[in-house]
């Protein structure tokens, strides 16, 4: 090499070229030729080895995201199968398949091919049903996974990006689901598309152009099925998979959060390695999710499109309901009163429709995505958080989350107001009014109740710790009194009750400093301090060692009053606690 020292580095590399033989390592022989072949060309051994040793913490709630992930993969597998037979066309045809009641009926090719999959392809119906159930499971698991992440504070720094990605994934999943269940072009889903066309049309200024653009002309036209198909099998899945990959990569990069517990700190991950434990558990869990979905699909019918008939814009089925995840937007449409529509300068503004149909859906996800940033601004907390919070230890956040879920649930139930009215024998008008009022009142009530419950649970945690561990040792004093000795110090299983941080609201500095100069940041700070008080004013903080010691001391004083002679003995017999 020394001869090439004056040359450019690239030339130096060239002189080194030539047949170089490196003796294979012991591991390379064992792992076989193919893996070695790949590693020679990619150097994959290092990252793969790292990933296989990666540690994941264990908790049942961490499976929720897994269920969502696996349901999505199952949707991709079964969806690919369905494309082999589904014809995404609104072209007219006359059905002549084996479902007798619809023979000779005019329908679209999309509907006819869905019937074909359901009745003439062996195993076609089971694939279709798994696809639909998996889609429902996907959104359910995704939503519950978001609950877990929200209520445990897992969205805090450094995971805000992943929370935003997750929110976008959740929104896309819903749009993907809507596009999917609209494809068969049956009467029910067609009515859904009709409503969609209706509310798109109400968008201010551009509504009628927008709806003609989407449908390629007047509703229903022949373009909507192929366009929804393109969105459903190509556009949205591509974005879904891309974002999902980023989501998972960030989880691996940032390492999974863990619940607090003995030995678990903000600086470590306690759990099991991928190889072999999670390879078996997570790999096996994919088969369990798939198996459960197959079992449901085998035994429980979903979306029997043949019972609805082909789409026709003039008839309708009573009790028309979207799939559950579109329910809240449909519920909003049912609740918004008609008087919100008005005409100004000859133009119609349908405030009774487009806020619920066009604005609500993105708005919900914008609020969701923005929450971590709001909370971080209020708390001013710039540190990384890898330990999850118990929901009770963040009473206001838990309350906000429950209030949000309540508002969502009111809208969801409102989308079933007709079904409820029939099943419960109630007036649909009363139910609608109940939901209208409930949308505003119930979240406030639920917020307050949740916060109180959280504070009470925190106080109970404090009581449990301050009470001390009952030793089971009964002591009889010389004068014949009995009492049980409580051990000082913190038992290991109570660590989780005291591990969280003490919190206090931010306090405001005077708006004018000691020289009488106004502080420009005062107004922003005032807002922040107010929000901080909202979050932390009545915080219940964990027991400190000093408090625990004081409580024990107090306890012994009481005992000392009861049996003054014994008190000294007991005090001295006390084992040294963690003071």
């Amino acid at each position: 090499m020394s001869t090439t020292a004056n040359q450019r580095p690239a030339d130096a590399l060239r002189t080194g070229d030539g047949p170089r033989h490196v003796a294979p390592s012991a591991g390379a022989k064992k792992i076989g030729g193919l893996a070695g072949w790949v590693d020679d060309r990619t150097g994959a051994a290092k990252p793969v080895g790292y990933l296989m040793k990666k540690v994941f913490p264990d908790h049942w709630s961490f499976m929720l995201g897994e269920i969502a992930m696996y349901s999505m993969i199952i949707c991709l597998i079964t969806g690919a199968f369905l494309t082999f037979w589904f014809v995404p066309s609104a072209g007219h045809t006359v059905y002549d398949g084996s479902y007798v009641p619809l023979r000779g009926v005019e329908m679209s090719e999309a509907y006819a091919s869905t019937l074909h999959i359901s009745f003439d392809i062996k195993g076609g119906l089971i694939i279709r049903q798994i696809h639909h159930w998996a889609a429902l499971m996907f959104v359910v698991a995704l939503v519950v996974h978001m609950f877990r992440v929200f209520f445990t504070g897992a969205f805090r720094k450094p995971r805000e990006i992943n929370w935003v990605i997750g929110s976008v994934l959740a929104l896309l999943a819903i749009v993907e689901g809507f596009a999917g269940y609209s494809l068969p072009d049956d009467l029910l889903s067609g009515t859904g598309i009709r409503a969609m066309a209706g509310f798109v049309q109400t968008a201010p200024v551009i509504g009628s152009y927008l709806v003609y653009g989407i449908f390629g002309g007047p509703f229903p036209g022949e373009m909507i099925i192929p366009r929804l198909y393109s969105a459903h099998v190509l556009l949205i899945p591509a974005i879904l998979i891309g974002l999902f990959t980023a989501h998972i990569a960030l989880v691996a990069l940032q390492k999974h959060t863990q619940f607090p517990g003995p030995g678990r700190t903000n600086d470590n991950v306690v759990g099991y390695p991928v190889m072999p434990v999670y390879a078996a558990k997570a790999g096996g869990f994919f088969f369990i999710v798939f198996g459960v979905l197959a079992l449901i699909a085998a035994l429980v019918q979903i979306n029997p499109v043949w019972a609805y008939g082909p789409y026709d814009p003039s008839p309708v089925t009573a009790g028309s309901q979207p799939d559950w995840y579109m329910g809240f937007a449909d519920g909003a449409l049912r609740l918004l009163p008609g008087w919100l529509e008005f005409t100004v300068f000859g133009f119609t503004v349908s405030m009774n429709i487009f806020p619920g149909a066009l604005i609500l859906l993105p708005l919900v996800y914008v609020i969701l995505g923005a929450y971590p940033f709001v909370e971080r601004w209020v708390t001013g907390d710039e540190r990384e958080h890898h330990l999850l919070e118990r929901p009770r230890n963040a009473p206001v956040r838990t309350g906000i989350g429950m209030a949000g879920i309540t508002a969502y649930t009111v809208l969801l139930f409102a989308s079933g107001n007709d079904i409820m009215a029939i099943k419960l024998g109630m007036s649909i008008n009363d139910l609608t009014w109940f939901f209208r009022v409930g949308f505003f009142v119930l979240p406030v009530v639920v917020f307050w109740v949740t916060k109180r419950v959280c504070l009470s649970l925190q106080r109970r945690d404090r009581d449990t710790v301050l009470h001390g561990r009952e030793s089971g040792t009964i002591i009889r004093t010389p004068d014949g009194r009995f009492f049980e000795r409580h051990e000082a110090g913190l038992p290991e299983d109570q660590w989780v009750l005291v591990q969280h941080e003490a919190v206090a609201p931010l306090e405001l500095e005077p708006e004018v400093d000691e020289h009488g100069v106004a502080r420009p940041a005062a107004r922003k700070d005032r807002m922040r301090a107010r929000l901080s008080r909202f979050y932390f004013a009545d915080a219940v903080n964990p027991v400190t060692p000093a408090e625990l010691a004081a409580a024990h001391h107090h306890g012994h004083e009481t005992e000392a009053l009861e049996g003054s002679q014994a008190a000294g003995e007991i005090e001295s017999a006390e084992p040294a606690g963690r003071h």
Binding site: K122, A195, D267, G284, L299, P505
Partner: protein, 381 residues
Amino acid sequence: MNEQDPHTPGTEVTPAGSHGEAVRLDEGHVVGTGGLPDRFTNPGLPHHVPRMADLDESAAKRAEKQVAALFGVSIIATLLFIVLYFALDVDQTVFIPGIGTTSATNAGLGVTLAFSLLGIGLGAVHWAKTLMPDEEVVEERHPLRAADADRDEVVRVITEEGGKSQIGRRPLLKMTMGGALGLFAVPLVLQVGGSLGEMPQKSLSLTWWNGGPSGPGEEPTFKPLRLMKDPENQPIKASDVTIGSVYHVMPQGLLPDPETNEGGAEHLLEEKAKAAVLLMRLDPAQIQSQKELDWGYEGIVAYSKICTHVGCPVGLYEQQTHHLLCPCHQSTFDVTQDCKVIFGPAKRPLPQLKITVDDEGYLVSAQPFREAVGPSFWERG
């Protein structure tokens, strides 16, 4: 505690309560460690408790057999799936208690597929729980933030190395590149946006009742059209409409001949989506609106069936109360009050179609709808 934070001047705060230590805003609400009463120390990982299978080889053997049995279930289920796939006919049905009669292939293939998958999954998980190591492993976390030197290097590369492109001192290049990059998406967006479909023109305000095809660009001239029963496509004699009866009606010429399936509108569904009409006969004494009476014929009134909310067909007619209810979002219209909205999210009444009778006694339209049917839109007026 840092008394003077350069980034947030003057935001020093004191926490509520009695500790008296300053808390910096950029450290948030968390009471700092300085001078605080101690927190409990983390007791460290609990002792590992060995499982049965770790201590007792016969328990481990038992677990092994259980896992093997689950894998065996999977193999058997897969074989059964293959057998059923060939043995069952696609239209065979089977009775399952609690579920009813259902497709035999769906139930058979689904259940065997489920067990084939569940056997693998449950076997693997049981294996992991009973035989694989269950002693917890600790992995350290490291701050995600890159070292300052690396961050500085990125900034240096972008500014210094990137600067070698001379973009900073050649504004012409900066402007033209910005312009070109800013504009290059326009052709793509224009191609898609401009070619998505026809513009509505007047078509949202027209229906077949205007005299014929009502799509974009059509200029139909009004002629009286008979009200035809849907789907029979038969004209309706006023004398045949009894009080309390309801007909689902389409305009003459829209529907194809039910026998030969010929004729009718070229864009059938698009025309039906706007032209559908409900025909009802009420006792004229019950009708409270003079305009409704005038536009009807002896208590026979015709209203658009397309909901003014988001366009679902208003499918439910309550004969006793004369209410029309939309099954999608429960807008309720009172037929005795010119289909005024009496409940629900719709704002406007259903448009009325003015009808009369022709020489042969059949019901015909006297004029087209005077306003756009269906959902609102910006320029409907």
